[in-house]
Symmetry: C2
Subunit: 253 residues, 2 copies
Amino acid sequence: MRTIATVNHKGGSGKTTTAVSLSAALAETGRRVLLIDLDPQASASAWVAAPAESRTLLDALLGGARLSDAVHHTGTLGLDIVPSSMWLLGAERRLAEIRAGDGRLAQLIGDLPDHWDYVLVDCPPALGALTANALASVEELFIPVEAHVMAMAGLVQVLRGVETARERVNPRLRVSGIVACRVDARTRHGPEVVGRLRGRFGDLVCSTVIRENVRLAECPSFGQPITQYDPRCSGAADYRSLACEVIAQEVRH
Amino acid sequence: MRTIATVNHKGGSGKTTTAVSLSAALAETGRRVLLIDLDPQASASAWVAAPAESRTLLDALLGGARLSDAVHHTGTLGLDIVPSSMWLLGAERRLAEIRAGDGRLAQLIGDLPDHWDYVLVDCPPALGALTANALASVEELFIPVEAHVMAMAGLVQVLRGVETARERVNPRLRVSGIVACRVDARTRHGPEVVGRLRGRFGDLVCSTVIRENVRLAECPSFGQPITQYDPRCSGAADYRSLACEVIAQEVRH
Ligand SMILES: Nc1ncnc2c1ncn2[C@@H]1O[C@H](COP(=O)(O)OP(=O)(O)OP(=O)(O)O)[C@@H](O)[C@H]1O
Ligand SMILES: Nc1ncnc2c1ncn2[C@@H]1O[C@H](COP(=O)(O)OP(=O)(O)OP(=O)(O)O)[C@@H](O)[C@H]1O
Ligand SMILES: [Mg+2]
Ligand SMILES: [Mg+2]
């Protein structure tokens, strides 16, 4: 079972869009995927129409419930979700107070039955206790970055945070890919920033770039991932090609 | 002195772009503006090339320093800044622990000399102690919203948070405007979401919409606000027209 988190404390970088779309593209290939929504804003849960009011993820993080008690099926074959809710805001403060609070999610994921091939964790845009839990509990990170210069500055901080988590809590943690998102080919700026990313971070940057495609912005209101909402649009094609890159890494895993 | 914060815990909604661009457009009219960067990612500080390494804002929030000790001039006449830095991450945890920690910024702003006409506070994409401080310390809020359906869901939570802050800590707090940002007229989706925003929130939504304009994404790397980087582009025009709306509200103030 591969465990992956989409992290970047810069807001709006494409974490949720990547977590949901990549999950759906992986499920399409027959792999079984569990998406864990660790963002109290619950955008991923709302997108796949999962029940948002449940406290179960909070109860699992802070109390005795198991993660498998919180799993729901989605309308996409092969894709299950552990939904988030506003209750998680309480977890942010309480996890920061408990000793070894950052390790709660790692225990919960460790106790999951071996039913899924992939676990993807969507993180909030913050460096708080929930993101710290994700960094302590997965082996791989994908870092979505909007192809704007303003997004570049935060990347160094993200990589520094990853380094700290690797040294302190999770020696197996590695960055499996930086994903350039919302690349608008109608401008020079987007491709220029992608060039700068490749120049600075080399092979860490996925060869797939996700192009700006309004269909990706539309599909959350239809409760479907892009692979079902508009299977022939560029958004679906780009996330399928990203899924291929992720699958090609399986050999290394 | 008017005190305004740009808030929205949804990441990437245009908080920093609005705080910096609106500040610069107000300064252009001869008003004196102080921009306070309350986001540990320090995007506004980096944009106006303010020194990011200083601990002074942290010392003011947690210790005895005054806010006026942390003020720097920018390259824009009439626009000063209190820069942020990674040190502020420490404030997030420590403010949450101190009694009445949410009221620190209100005291600091209250002690400012009467030198500025406007104080604008840029907030991080989180509902933590720093944003709580902003909600407790300003009288007015502008809520930038990206014109995407995914951004609509969070808006209700933001307004609920404002209501709670008004009841508990700051009875004078009011929403002065919801600002539709990154409206891409080349798609149907953008204008459709603006229509939904107006239908649901009525006059709270500013008549000015901020169009998607790549010049706004480019200018942070040149250390200049849009009014100086490309004074004739649509981004500069839109933020000038937003500044007019803000100025027209002065009569009520
Ligand atoms: N390739 C794309 N083309 C067009 N729109 C996109 C694309 N990727 C993401 N978006 C839109 O950009 C906005 C930000 O994306 P998203 O919400 O996935 O980012 P995030 O990092 O999860 O945000 P947050 O920091 O709030 O968690 C959303 O409105 C989404 O619909
Ligand atoms: N009108 C616009 N046209 C084009 N790009 C824009 C526009 N407004 C903002 N942007 C870009 O969108 C991205 C998000 O904007 P910004 O960083 O201001 O949002 P934010 O709410 O401050 O994000 P965070 O949640 O990380 O604080 C940035 O890369 C910015 O350059
Ligand atoms: Mg998200
Ligand atoms: Mg910002």
